[in-house]
């Protein structure tokens, strides 16, 4: 389980556009870097990120090697009702992680 840091406001007003931020610990090995012996280190990337609210897609991303290590994303969401935000990351070597957060909308 990789460490993550999620910034989700605990509450929001109906109609408010809120900011969501995610940070996940991952080396994002590009597959282009040589090691100390000159051998290319095998690629090990997170390939996809997605955020859903009550199942509906808020934002998703296809990550390429040019995304920095410990991928950070910031995006927005229109708050219309209370519910659950779910975040998921998938990548090479079977990497798969999900996190969730509850949002209360008044």
């Amino acid at each position: 389980m990789a460490r993550t840091l999620l910034t989700v406001p605990p509450t929001a007003k109906r109609g408010e556009v809120i900011e969501l931020r995610t940070l996940i610990a991952h080396i994002m090995e590009t597959g282009f870097r040589p090691d100390a012996n000159g051998q290319v280190k095998p690629r090990d990337l997170i390939n996809r990120f997605s955020c859903r609210f009550n199942g509906e897609l808020v934002c998703s991303a296809e990550l390429y090697p040019a995304v920095a290590a410990n991928p950070y994303f910031s995006f927005t969401m229109l708050a219309t009702e209370s519910g659950t935000l779910s975040f998921s990351w998938e990548g090479d070597n079977g990497f798969s992680q999900s996190e969730s957060a509850v949002l209360t909308v008044t």
Binding site: V17, I18, T30, F32, F53, E56, L57, V58, C59, S60, A61, E62, L63, Y64, P65, A66, V67, A68, A69, P71, Y72, F73, S74, F75, T76, M77, L78, A79
Partner: protein
């Protein structure tokens, strides 16, 4: 005399080979953008790619892309893609958005191998494509491990 002429030719060839290689990389980026746009024309405008003009380390460069759009059900951004011309690969990241996003505003941190051009392309719900390109100067670390 003959050998010197041959050497001159060789040097000319050498230089002639290098210059098109630089242009070819930029045309690779144009190809990648064309591919993303499915052949549609990509017009400059509506998109703002925020990236510092001078970067102190290319390993983690913060970027923000915003698009002027109401993000309503009938008029919104469906995707944002960022391309480069000097990394090993042209693609950087591709986002998918929708009316639930509220705003077309995404940020992340990217890797830049060297000074180069970045292009952000937005795909709108009406099928149009818009872009913004920025040149970034990347300083490389002086003391390596």
């Amino acid at each position: 005399m003959q050998r010197r002429e041959l050497l001159h030719l060789g040097v000319a060839f050498g230089t002639a080979v290098v210059v098109p290689a630089v242009r070819a990389t930029s045309s690779e980026m144009q190809d990648a953008i064309r591919g993303y746009a499915n052949g549609a024309s990509v017009k400059p405008g509506k998109v703002k790619l925020d990236v510092p003009p001078l970067v102190e380390n290319g390993n983690a460069v913060p970027i923000t892309v915003s698009v002027d759009s109401p993000m309503s059900a009938t008029e919104h951004v469906t995707g944002i893609a960022v391309f480069n011309d000097r990394n090993p690969q042209r693609d950087v990241v591709r986002f998918t958005l929708g009316p639930r996003s509220g705003k077309a505003l995404v940020s992340t941190r990217i890797r830049l191998a060297t000074s180069q051009q970045l292009v952000a392309v937005a795909r709108l719900s009406d099928g149009s494509y818009w872009s913004h390109s920025v040149d970034v100067l990347v300083t490389l670390a002086a003391c390596l491990e």
